[in-house]
Symmetry: C2
Subunit: 109 residues, 2 copies
């Protein structure tokens, strides 16, 4: 096997998993932090700042983009990446309602 059985889960579970998977790598977390904080939205700059090869950063950026977490705008020779606000908001909401399901006081064991 080795293939996730997406068909047995709800769309919401699958969608949330996809976004979380895109987040679930230290390099991609670092990339997002750079994009947000330092306004370093250029692939080459990120490559230098994070110490990963340009091809690697480009691949991570693609994953973040595919998951809908960032968007890219062509600026001359380079591309400026920034947060995709709509999906970011969606992720925040879905995660919040998921994480807040837990009532810390009521544990079953």
């Amino acid at each position: 096997m080795g293939l996730t059985k997406t068909e047995i889960f709800t769309d919401e579970q699958n969608r949330l998993a996809v976004m979380l998977k895109a987040l679930a790598h230290p390099a991609r977390i670092a990339i997002l932090q750079q994009i947000i904080n330092a306004n370093a939205c250029i692939c080459g700059d990120l490559s230098i700042e994070l110490g990963l090869a340009q091809a690697t950063i480009s691949q991570h950026l693609k994953e973040l983009k595919t998951a809908g977490l960032i968007q890219g705008t062509i600026e001359g020779v380079s591309v400026c990446y920034c947060i995709e606000p709509k999906n970011w908001e969606l992720l925040k909401q879905q995660l919040n309602s998921f994480l807040n399901l837990v009532d810390v006081k009521a544990n079953c064991c």
Copy 2:
């Protein structure tokens, strides 16, 4: 290659990535929802309810446990799994401060 370069990232980035990775699978999201909502904390029950083999569920439970998101208590022949409140709270905080970094109005492009 094929090995994540954890040494070039901060502890916080790595720790957050580990917890998110544990969350980033529809089966594990479903398991957590079951544990939280339906109080179905038994491996066998989860196997029946989710439609995945017992070995598969056990593996997912192990991953959730290793990431610190759940804890298991032996109850006779079976094991009752429930949320690990401390780490759950930690995840909530770390995620919140990360997701709230974004100022939706100020996009660089």
